[in-house]
Amino acid sequence: MIKAKINNVDVGVPEGTTILWAARKANFTIPTLCSHPDLVPGGQCGICVVEIEGIPGLKRACMTPLGEGWRVHTHTARLLEIRRQLVELILSYHDTDCLTCIKNQNCELQTLAATLGINTVEWRGFEEKLPIDRSSVSIVRDPNKCILCGRCTQVCANVQTVNALAVNHRGSDTVITAAFDAGLGNSVCINCGQCVVHCPVGALYENSHIERVWDAIHDPEKFVVVQEAPAVRVMLGEEFGMEPGTLVTGKMYAALRRIGFDAVFDTNFSADLTIIEEGTELVSRLKTGKNLPLITSCSPGWIKFMETFFHDMIPHMSTAKSPQQMFGALAKTYFAEQRDIAPEKIVSVSIMPCTAKKFECQRPEMRASGFQDVDFVLTTREIGRMLREAGIDLNEMPDEKADNLLGEYTGAATIFGTTGGVMEAALRSAYFLVTGRELEGIDITPVRGLKGIKEAEVDIDGLKVKVAVAHSGSQARKLMEKVEYQLRKEGKSEYDFIEVMACPGGCVGGGGQSWGSNMAKRARRGESLYAEDRSLPYRRSHENPSIKALYEKFLGRPNSERSHKLLHTRYYKRSTVDGNIIAE
């Protein structure tokens, strides 16, 4: 225990606690731009400097562990002046068109400038504007807004191990870009959007589909259907000031109906379908012993990651499409047929906690219906903006139900939104598919929680199935390296089934979540999904009555020819230089 005084207030903190966190304990908030609760402090911005009696110079609070007996001052006149000057220097080269900026009212720099009482900027730096990078279908990067704090490069390199963004050139020419200024769209970027979530300013944001969705909604000729990912129902409330993790399923359906979607369905329906298709695949691979471990394919960030860095694992990938794409393929075939609507009139919109889904929906192979299966993808932030534009307050919405045919779901589907959920859902159904009996003890807790790699062993009628779950690029890389090593060395891996999600925490931590998110919020959203799972009448995907009807009326049986045409996909090898396809 370290005892010290911060601004003459006694504090006691465990050894190694930085001054930044110790000060918060003493109820002093030291401002900072670059430090983030989920990242390792890098000390780039210098805003958090403090004075320590008897120690010459200034120390960065984010990087300095509190010392025994120190007397620290965090808000002296000198420090306030230094912080003001630092922020003014940042503003001198920052594109300050705040009113039209995507981060208006959510910007850490804007808040800081207001907190420090900056009312004029004495200097004006380079007026020359750099081109905005719109090469990616998922993520836009505006270098004119960038303050070079390094959060995006840190999360891209250390948390995701993708290394699409890096700090290039030097001095006043420093810029964070993909190599050779190629643009994110021509890089190894997996579109996960963790850079977007961590950016303190408006330098990174999603490529918006809002305008095109409004156009479709307002076009009387179009029939606009909407699906919402599992994680969105525990995330959207935050856009309207609710506590992180508030479950708003019914209110969300009501709000979407009110802004003019013609049919409100649910991605959870197709999540149940994914489990049936993927579970059947698992059972057949367990029986033949071929291409084990089976690896899940729901996360489009993970798919591009695997295609780029681990394409030798392609034979192990489940060919089942993600729930978004299964839904898309069915909306323009099954739904169109059942309701007698011409598929070309259907506009299929999805609401996702994800930026990579924008990439997934435009992949050329995702046109099983003869049209682009999913036309537009909105992030949670975008639908929040649309609802506010339409004058709708989610808090005031009644609880409504999703429309029939593609709306019903089970508890197994809803936990897809958090790490370990797909695994748990798949095991619940795989057990039934193999044994014809239901798994006792439906909660498979070892695969839950935020540990980087989780392992479990499930006994399916004497058959021991070893599973592993990884979330975030770095953990996926660790697990895949292990599997590759085992396959090379012993010809087989210890695992039978692996779930990977590209984002830390799974989809509840996706690149499309509300601004200002952190791991603590991600965890609360995940807990809410498990709570919803417990509250639902059906908790196993194969019990979903709408799924049973779909197979009876349309698909035949799992992994049938029609399922394969509509619900399964393929993967490519991609280059580690530019992310482009190099081989089939």
Binding site: N163, A166, R170, A178, A179, F180, V188, T576
Partner: protein, 152 residues
């Protein structure tokens, strides 16, 4: 193929990144680090492509754009400045019709600035590739450029 030979000379340790990049640049017919140079270096050292690019872009002695056969490095340090390097720079720009960092259209000369070459006694000074020149005047520069053109 020649790139493989270069890489073989070095241990695949990150400490060698600058030596490898120098060697690759020196052996590139256009005297720069092409995407392929960055890629082979990244693969050899087992580090990300963007990381190698980041390193290469930081150091001024690496070029990420193709350069001419002769790279003129005019000294920009104070002693040369006092002895008239600025007017020499203006002269070179006019003669070669390029700005600093650019290459002549015939791809013969690239004009660059450098910090002190340690030849202050013969300021103003410049280098062309590995060769030093001192006590420069516009007439001397003319003769040097002319000789290089004839060597083509």
């Amino acid at each position: 193929m020649y790139r493989k030979q270069i890489l073989k000379k070095f241990n695949p340790a990150l400490d060698n990144i600058l030596y490898i990049l120098h060697d690759l640049q020196d052996n590139n017919p256009e005297h720069y680090l092409a995407k392929e140079d960055i890629r082979v270096c990244a693969d050899y050292l087992g580090v990300p492509y963007s990381y190698v690019h980041s390193v290469a872009s930081f150091y001024t002695m690496f070029s990420l754009k193709p350069r001419g056969r002769y790279i003129i490095r005019l000294c920009d340090s104070p002693p040369c400045h006092l002895m008239g390097s600025q007017s020499l720079l203006d002269y070179l720009k006019k003669e070669l019709k390029v700005n600093v960092g650019e290459t002549t259209r015939d791809k013969v000369f690239t004009l660059e600035l450098t910090s002190c070459l340690g030849a202050c006694g013969v300021a103003p000074a410049m280098m062309i590739n590995e060769e030093m020149f001192g006590n420069l005047t516009p007439a001397a520069v003319d003769a040097i450029l002319e000789k290089r053109r004839k060597e083509l």
